[in-house]
């Protein structure tokens, strides 16, 4: 191959990479991020079936992941608002347990907003 060929190949690679970055996004969430207090406890793929035990500020909670969704399924808190939030499935959705200082947020390629007003 000559220089010109290499230029074509390189341009091709550049185009593919840039277009992939710009255009490859989808609505659905791919991961769930669990935060405990002011730290990120962990980020997990939604593409699995799994229960995660997290020791929160007031006790152990269970976060369930199933087929692209995540939720609080058990919590030691009194009001159980976090459990009643139910399944989260779309990117940007979040559930919060204030007493236990735990939060879930679904992360995907596209984020609709920077912060949530509630």
């Amino acid at each position: 191959m000559r220089i010109g060929d290499w230029c074509v190949v390189t341009t091709g690679i550049v185009l593919v990479v840039v277009l992939f970055q710009q255009l490859w996004s989808h609505e659905g969430a791919t991961r769930v991020q669990i935060r405990l207090g002011d730290t990120i406890y962990g980020t997990y793929s939604l593409n699995q079936q799994r229960d995660i035990q997290v020791d929160g500020a007031i006790g152990p909670a269970t976060v369930s992941i199933m087929n692209g969704k995540a939720r609080f399924s058990k919590s030691p808190c009194h009001n159980q608002y976090c459990v009643h939030q139910g399944w989260l499935s779309r990117s940007g959705q979040a559930a919060l347990c204030l007493p236990n200082q735990l939060s879930l947020e679904l992360i995907g390629e596209a984020k609709h907003y920077d912060s949530l007003n509630y």
Partner: protein
């Protein structure tokens, strides 16, 4: 140089350039979450070195923690900070002897009194006894026994912000039934304090969220900050909007602090005139533009202004909004119908198809 190597080098250089470009394009966003004020504090800072953003965030959080203890309605002092509000409430209850208050407390009380009068007493931070009676001066809420006679007595005692007399950094109350609870003021005030601090530190781009009340500085890179408005009954956003520099947004809802009793929802927003939690509204969102210097700032207004609009019945909501100078607001009633002013509607991007379909766009009342 060997002939075959040159093209490889070109490819490698190009790949490096792409990688460098992508790394450069990565947003310089610092994001932190913590728990202060009994709620979630979420701070984003854009365009500052990570170390600096971290130090600024820590400074803000320390200020918040200090403010939290100073203004707490039912927790005692800690080793580091005094619970000034508790001391003041004790003094109010015991007689008309003036006690010393900090310049900050004087400023807050004057401003809150002005807002209380402007809202026809619907924003009333002096009804701490009522709020406590309904069980909302606790970290966790549970159903309370509703003592009608007791509630009626607390309303008849008629505590008002104008009962408080402030003079030369001292204060006393003409009415011993005044008990301050700044739950509808402190978070908004803290937003303004944090925004002010960041501006003085020459931070141009930040988004601060205290328990759902948000204020914006600058923007998120090339685009404005974008915030979502929570669905009152689902873990999702119903709409999003751009929050421009200096603007703030706040929502009062019946879904964050409430208890259920006999199938009825009792939320933390209490009508000072009846003494009972409001049951006709699910949520009120207000969007506040930057305010003139020396008047109530945007963060504080975003916290305060949603309460009187929440409390008034639907027919009167626009009148009270107008008297508070609020043009951008949205109401979601118990039938999950959304009423939005045209000023706010033009700024919203709807995500929830049900709300969008049954939307009522209504003009604000004129003075």
């Amino acid at each position: 140089m060997r002939k075959g190597l040159k093209p490889l080098l070109i490819v490698a250089a190009c790949c490096l350039a792409i990688w460098g470009y992508i790394a450069y394009k990565q947003p310089a966003l610092y994001h932190s979450q913590s728990y202060v004020f009994g709620t979630l504090v979420d701070i984003s800072i854009y365009g500052e070195p990570e170390e600096r953003a971290k130090a600024l965030t820590n400074h803000i959080l320390q200020d918040f923690q200090h403010l939290h203890v100073q203004l707490h309605a039912w927790q005692p002092s800690t080793d580091n900070s005094a619970n000034e509000l508790g001391t003041l409430n004790a003094a109010f209850a015991s007689g008309e002897e003036p006690i010393h208050i900090s310049p900050r407390m004087a400023e807050i009380l004057r401003d809150a009194t002005k807002l209380s009068q402007q809202s026809n007493g619907l924003f009333n931070p002096s009804i701490g006894h009522l709020i406590g009676t309904w069980g909302f001066q606790r970290d966790e809420f549970s159903a309370v026994h509703i003592d009608k006679a007791h509630i009626s007595n607390l309303v008849k005692a008629n505590p008002r912000m104008s009962d408080i007399v402030i003079k030369n950094n001292t204060a006393y109350s003409k009415n011993p039934n005044v008990k301050l609870d700044l739950g509808g003021y402190a978070k908004g005030y803290a937003l303004d304090q944090a925004a002010d601090y960041l501006r003085k530190q020459r931070v141009h781009n930040a988004l601060i969220n205290i328990g759902g009340n948000i204020i914006a500085l600058g923007q998120h890179g090339d685009t404005p900050w974008r915030v979502g408005i929570q669905h009152p009954r689902k873990p999702a956003a119903i709409a999003t909007l751009e929050l421009a520099d200096g603007w703030a947004i706040g929502t009062s809802g019946d879904y964050q602090r409430y208890f259920m009793l006999d199938g009825k929802r009792y939320c933390h927003i209490i009508d000072p005139h009846t003494g009972y939690p409001v049951q006709h509204t699910q949520a009120v969102t207000v969007l506040i533009p930057p305010q003139a210097v020396h008047s109530t700032q945007a963060g504080t207004l975003s916290d305060v202004a949603s309460k009187p609009i929440f409390i008034e019945p639907l027919a009167q909501k626009s009148t009270i909004a107008a008297s508070l100078g609020i043009q951008h607001y949205m109401v979601i009633d118990q039938a999950a119908q959304a009423f939005v002013t045209p000023e706010l509607q033009t700024k919203l991007t709807w995500l929830d198809a049900d709300f969008k379909k049954h939307l009522h766009v209504q003009a604000t009342a004129q003075h």
